[in-house]
Amino acid sequence: MTQPVLSVRNLRVEFPTRRARLVAIDDVSFDILPGEVLGMVGESGAGKSVTGTAIVGLIEPPGRIAGGEIFLSGVRIDNLDPPAMRRIRGKRIGMVFQDPLTSLDPLYRIGEQLTETIATHSDLRGAALRERAIALLSEVGIPAPAHRFDNYPHQFSGGMRQRVVLALALAADPELVIADEPTTALDVSVQAQIIELMKRLARRHRAAILLITHDMGVIAEAADRVAVMYAGRIVEIGPVRDVVSAPLHPYTRGLMGSIPKLDGGLDRLVQIPGSMPRLTAIPPGCPFHPRCPRVFAPCPMHRPELRPHAKAQVACWLYHPAPSAQSEKPATLAGPP
């Protein structure tokens, strides 16, 4: 069996505040294989970005990883000291964020930033270094890379800047790339280009990609598997095709139904009542139960674990024998809610 590039086990992230200890990530586990794109989808506050931040060890204190383990190619990384973690970031884990201007220094030429990154993580120097940087720019689709090498970030358009950021993330040939909303700030035509590019690069470099986004369309286009997050937990994880076309968890179903579709016509959209709970008031049991159309006896009491069902894994009592209320389990499991 192939060893996963990234293994997250029972991750828990807490942010202590004066009033309470907020649990942003609660018992999250997943793997990503080499060359695989795992999409992580959820609405604001679901904990998707915190997951990415925890993996690269950049949780702002007093926030901290309060439990669980993170393995990069089999080696535990969540307990490394800051200098050791710094050597991993950029070299073994590349990062791409929503706004390319937060990753690029406006005062330095693109080429300088790229060569600096490559030099930090390799022995290349001089002409070979420059050559490698130009090759990277060309690989991410920057036209006339030798000429653009000496341009500043403001001379690039939004889509071109995100390409440069991709080049930076790939500079050290990382095993894992964490892309947090990489296409959200881009126009739809440019977004399509960046998605294509990311897919191609993942395949060619055999890098694993954690693609964090709120946009199910981007996930459907780019990811192999998808993890759906709600209130700091993964409620469903499985192959994209299965989760998108036959979602299991009532939250995933609601989410899919609320997305406007191109062939939808003037129909009403499916609505999930209410809104995501605040971290200060996550309901007991299944965190989705107050909004769930199919809530029944065990939901407010017992928290469902993520367990296999069909090709996916789902955390919902509809699919697993509930601890005390088995008789109340509805007869129909599948079918639209």
Partner: protein, 336 residues
Amino acid sequence: MTVAPAAPLVRAENLGRIFDVSSPWLTRVLEGLPRQVVVAVADMSFEIARKETLALVGESGSGKSTVAKMVVGLVPPTTGEVFIDAMPMHGRRRGAERRRLRRRIQMVFQDPYASLNPRWRALDIVAEPIRAFQLAASRPETAARVGELLRLVGLDPADGGKYPHQFSGGQRQRIAIARALASEPAFVVCDEPTSALDVSVQAQILNLMRDLQDRFGLTYLFISHNLAVVRHMAHRIGVMYLGRLVEIAAADALFRAPRHPYTRMLLDAVPDLEMSGRQRKPVEGEVPDPVDPPKGCSFHPRCPFADDRCKTERPALVAWNAAGPVACHAVEEGRI
């Protein structure tokens, strides 16, 4: 052209807006720089019938928000005019007439964090149009009306005493909608009303806007970059590129048979949720710099059908057949 059965509520005629983006005068003189202008919007003509939703879609820099601002009177047009019920929006009028017109037009903005005064309570925000247009005779009547409006948009009137920061993004957009409805408008301009919201909240707001349209017979101008959202909201759709309409058609027709190459490209670029496995045409290039737009048809550098005529002559927005107007030489010549 025959006379339409009912006069449209909104009519824009040759609407255009130029922004001066030159460097300051002294810099220009010292460095010998020319004046620079951006043609944000040019030659925009459209009509919106009563109870109809017209959507304008386009990517950043296409000028759709500038059109919205001109239609509500927040930005004066450089050329052209907007008529609401045949009354000119920007022409010189006396105060009372202007107020009457303004009351009938409202706007919902993209960012509910920026469009609500953080120091006002929700009920004061919603009451302001009622006070400004003197639509209620007394304080209790105003309060009753505010309560009614908050209920209408799905908020608890008891929460009216809260400040905007105590509401979620979706709830804030509901307050913004309640405020827009407070003056009993006929026409509401919505500029990306759900772009800042999560998708499940977006569904709630879009459904609410549809319900309100049915209930009050509202006419919407709906601005969005999201084609799928537009599909759920609009009866007719205008596609904008670099400040100009390139195609305008009934929503069904536009999605079934897009004609302008740019419309085709946009539809092709939308991520495919159905995962039909359709082969997508790779999208070429990006929107050019509006300060220096391409000559001829501004889409020609990205267009797979462009020929020499496209590079020199700007196509006019003309209805070449029954499907509606398209600004494209290739469509006119029957090449595509």
